[in-house]
Symmetry: C2
Subunit: 233 residues, 2 copies
């Protein structure tokens, strides 16, 4: 009697992945149907389904009902990016976290911000500028606008003590988040605040969060020179 070995779906996934790597299945090829693979590998179809779902999520194969599974001809490099709370990021580096509030002002959104937030007309929001420090040295400079429609409570928060970054992440869950990454040259003001030469190339992480079509906040985080963003494996 055959012993009923139970294969984990990750094993099955890895074995199918191995066939992609050794080109048993080549780009553009159609894979056997789940049921046949299941029989071949000695597991249930549901296990193959889970494995295939994962490979499809990773961008390696494409699946279509009735159409079957095909190996992607133009695979994309798909990576997961984690942006933690800045304090946690600094502490994970083994550095001492510090924080300075530079500006806290009620102001009407300038056109660029209004556009980012998809506002019909400019509105008054809380404008905050703050500097995050690692071991006393500038780490990230954030320029943030916070909607008073969705976060009126922010007015009661002492932003000199608790950063808007932390307060919002902890208190304002979002339903949607846009991230964009780009490079800028340090202007005189930024250079002074980040203690870097004017013209230095800096990585910027821009993040906008929404709750049900209503904007919560948009931040432009200018990182210190040499900052690198890494992806999870």
């Amino acid at each position: 009697m055959t012993e009923p070995i139970r294969h984990s779906w990750t094993d099955i996934r890895d074995r199918i992945h191995a066939r992609l790597l050794d080109r048993t299945y080549r780009p553009g090829d159609k894979l056997p149907r789940d049921e046949d693979i299941a029989q071949d590998l000695g597991c249930a179809r549901s296990t193959v389904q889970r494995a295939m779902r994962d490979l499809a999520d990773a961008g390696l194969v494409e699946r279509k009902r009735k159409g079957g599974t095909t190996v992607r001809a133009d695979p994309v490099t798909r990576a997961t990016l984690d942006v933690p709370i800045t304090r946690a990021e600094v502490e994970a580096l083994g550095s001492v976290y510090g924080y300075h509030l530079l500006l806290r002002d009620l102001a009407v959104t300038p056109p660029a911000i209004a556009a980012t937030l998809a506002l019909r007309k400019p509105v008054e929001m809380l404008h905050v500028e703050a500097l995050h420090l690692a071991d006393q040295r500038p780490y990230i400079l954030e320029d943030r606008w916070i909607s008073l429609e969705t976060s009126p409570e922010i007015l009661g928060v002492d932003l000199a003590v608790e950063s808007a970054n932390e307060w919002l992440v902890r208190n304002k869950p979002y339903s949607r988040c846009d991230l964009r990454l780009y490079a800028i040259e340090a202007n005189a003001r930024t250079a002074l605040q980040l203690d870097t030469p004017v013209g230095a190339a800096l990585l910027v992480i821009e993040r906008t969060t929404w709750i049900n079509e209503a904007p919560i906040t948009t931040v432009r985080s200018v990182t210190k020179p040499g900052y690198q963003m890494l992806t999870q494996i």
Copy 2:
């Protein structure tokens, strides 16, 4: 008799997510066990399991056997980054793709590259420099090293016609990929090739791929000024 409505796991996920958003469940809180939520929402535990798995993957909750499910106190912003083949990226923008091979040379890996690839000692690899164009204008400048151990066939490819980017993506699937993003100032050579002023801030996408601990290639892609990297929703 109660009609047997079948709730999709995405619905269940969204309903639990809504409870995170409206703070029925607050950061640090322990959620009811899957079975109770299932009863509450009128579905099977397996459906809740799938929904919870997704919420955990998104970084919103943490699950532990016996420990139950808790709302993450410090949620991370987790986003998915897609890096397509450059040709596909340019064409998706509605631009005409162009490509120029600038350099193709066998050379011994300089220390920085050897370190990136975790080589014990420098080895000879194929060094390629190429420029990707969008509508005749410089788009991405790539500086690439290709291992002859894992990709000896690359020597037979006419890189003046087919870019190493495309050939490798299509022919050399990888088991691991490191991505790092940072900003640099254009030096004289880069500035000339990308047709940009010296000192311009440029976003760099560095990517290294491996197959079973053996490096395949490492690329430093210097993007044109103003290039932005966006995440999937």
